[in-house]
């Protein structure tokens, strides 16, 4: 099994499409960091403008952690889009290229084939998120140094430097599971069609619609909000609250895991019965 997973990973990581995500992050993150450095703009100063008379700030608030936290907001829409490029192609790509006929005429069960493809999709998703984390934290610190993390979210929250690292670890753990959910949804859509465009558009449409529904102050939407996976996919933001509600984070991560498992099991059920006509 491990051998097939490694070969499947080799298959994915020798495709140029796989590197679109890494390339995009590899361009955007340095652009933001270098751009902020060269422009001399300090967003923390702008945000603190109204409080200058009440507070005296010392130390470096415009630091690597602040930059990394800023970049993490791409986890709402931008990173999911990059994930769907590969996750949406995972099964649909086999149909497009006609290679289902190679995969599914062998003495391995469809359950195994699907599981292997799901594992590699999750692996790709994880590497992309880890790459985002490493690049944003690394470059942020390289250019802006270390310090306390200041967060503006209706109020000002200052998190001391010695606890920021584990908050980021927790946040990225949550982000990882949230992105797995997006990948699982794209994987699910990918099993229906013979072209990756459908799963990419489908996943993004669901994501955006659910995010909008989750924010609208309409009673009906409020009742369905607990059932939308997007309600829990912003779990990473909870790692930067004071105090940290670990129960809430655990609950959100658990729900997201259930969504992942649910999408996978439904995909499995449908895929086992699917006639391969491509």
């Amino acid at each position: 099994m491990l051998n097939i997973v490694l070969l499947e990973a080799h298959k994915i990581f020798t495709k140029w499409r796989t590197y679109i995500g890494f390339l995009t992050i590899g361009i955007i993150v340095p652009l933001i960091v270098v751009g902020l450095k060269l422009s001399g703009i300090n967003p923390t100063q702008n945000a603190m403008f109204n409080f200058q008379e009440e507070f005296i700030t010392t130390g470096n608030l415009f630091n690597g952690w602040f930059i990394s936290h800023l970049i993490m907001h791409s986890l709402f829409v931008h990173i999911p889009f990059l994930i769907t490029l590969v996750a949406g192609d995972s099964l649909a790509g086999e149909a497009t290229s006609g290679t289902y006929r190679i995969l599914l005429t062998r003495p391995v069960s469809r359950i195994k084939v699907l599981t292997i493809k799901y594992i590699t999709t999750i692996f790709y998703t994880s590497t992309l998120v880890v790459f985002l984390a490493a690049l944003s934290i690394g470059l942020g610190h390289l250019f802006f140094g270390d310090g306390d993390l200041i967060i503006f979210r209706g109020e000002i929250l200052l998190l001391p430097v010695d606890e920021v690292w584990w908050r980021f670890l927790l946040a990225y753990l949550g982000a990882l599971v949230a992105m797995w959910t997006v990948a699982s949804l794209a994987f699910f859509f990918s099993s229906f069609v013979e072209n990756a465009i459908g799963p990419i558009i489908g996943t993004m449409a669901v994501l955006i619609i659910f995010l909008i529904i989750g924010e609208l102050p309409i009673e009906f939407f409020k009742t369905i909000k607990p059932y939308l996976f997007t309600t829990y996919s912003s779990v990473w933001t909870k790692a930067f609250e004071e105090p940290v509600n670990f129960n809430e984070i655990f609950k959100s991560i658990s729900y997201l895991c259930i969504y992942c498992g649910g999408f996978f099991l439904v995909t499995l059920y449908l895929f086992r019965r699917k006639d391969i006509l491509s």
């Binding site: 080799h10 006609g98 006509l277």
Partner: protein
């Protein structure tokens, strides 16, 4: 009688209201090169996809190596190599990497075996080239290589010469003959190229509109069909009069500018001599006894309108 290694039992596949395959019962014996013939859309690929578990039958079942495919899928597929329709591979990978990946789905094959099968299909010199750089003929050969990879007892090939040039077709036919003779592999070969099956198969089935038309040994089926000679001759009316004088000709047909004379081939010199004696212009004499005619005959039964359009006049001598 040899062991039956592949058998379908009232096999059927329905897409919405249309049956692509219906009540199909065929038997393939160990050592056969089994030709599975049918015009385009007859249901050949659907049948093969069911045999390789790509699609699920609506009714009926398939038995491979005496076990039901739906219940012993993995066990059966371990002993089968298959090539379904056009050979598609991971274009961004080399032939070696493609076969390594496919081999992993059998539990792994060693480098030597990969090199062996590529040598068999004469692709050794392109082993590390990306498959997207291959021509169609090379992909077709790679398709056969992947079917051979796990030392199968049965190979199912769906139109393996499709899209090849005459040289490529001949090479694939030779390869199929060699696999059967030298490696004793049973081969199930679908084709709409009837001459191809005639050249390589010992047994065959003809399928049309999803239904079995006939199956049996190629030679027996050929012998049971009428033999005739197609002669292009002018003036054709005079030729008809001469034919009527031959007692051994029981039946003839007028087909465009030719006469289709139902007789054995050894009577041709006699007929030709008589035409020449009466100063008739004989342009061509073609003995027709091929599987292709037999196939057309079988399929035309399903399309009588087509047959009528082709045959202008029918007479009895």
């Amino acid at each position: 009688m040899s062991e039956i290694i592949l058998q379908t039992h009232n096999l059927a596949k329905r897409y919405k209201k249309r049956f692509a395959v219906s009540d199909l019962n065929i038997e393939v014996y160990r050592g056969d090169v089994f030709g599975f013939l049918g015009p385009n859309g007859a249901g050949k690929s659907t049948t093969i996809r069911m045999m390789l578990s790509l699609i699920h039958p609506t009714n009926g079942s398939i038995t491979i190596f005496s076990k039901r495919l739906d219940k012993h899928r993995g066990e059966a597929l371990k002993r089968i190599g298959g090539l379904v329709e056009k050979p598609d591979f991971y274009g961004h990978l080399s032939a070696f990497d493609n076969l390594k990946f496919i081999g992993s789905l059998y539990g792994g094959v060693n480098k030597k075996r990969i090199e062996e099968v590529l040598e068999t299909v004469k692709l050794s010199d392109r082993i590390n080239d990306k498959v997207k750089t291959y021509s169609h003929g090379m992909k077709q050969r790679l398709g056969i290589a992947q079917a051979l990879l796990a030392n199968p007892e049965l190979i199912i090939l769906d139109e393996p010469t499709s899209g090849l040039d005459p040289q490529g077709m001949r090479e694939v036919r030779e390869l199929i003959k060699n696999l059967s003779k030298e490696q004793n592999i049973t081969i199930f070969l679908s084709s709409h190229l009837l001459t191809e099956v005639e050249q390589v198969a010992n047994r065959m089935a003809i399928i049309n509109n999803g239904k079995l038309v006939v199956q049996g040994y190629v030679q027996e089926l050929l012998n049971s069909s009428d033999q005739y000679v197609q002669i292009q001759v002018e003036p054709i009316e005079a030729a008809e009069q001469i034919i009527k004088s031959f007692a051994f000709i029981k039946k003839y047909e007028r087909h465009n500018n030719s006469l289709l004379i139902y007789t054995s081939i050894d009577r041709i010199p006699e007929i030709n001599a008589e035409f020449v004696k009466h100063n008739l212009q004989v342009s061509s004499i073609i003995p027709r006894r091929s599987l292709e005619d037999y196939f057309i005959e079988m399929t035309e039964r399903a399309y009588p309108a087509f047959q009528n359009a082709k045959t202008k006049g029918v007479g009895n001598a």
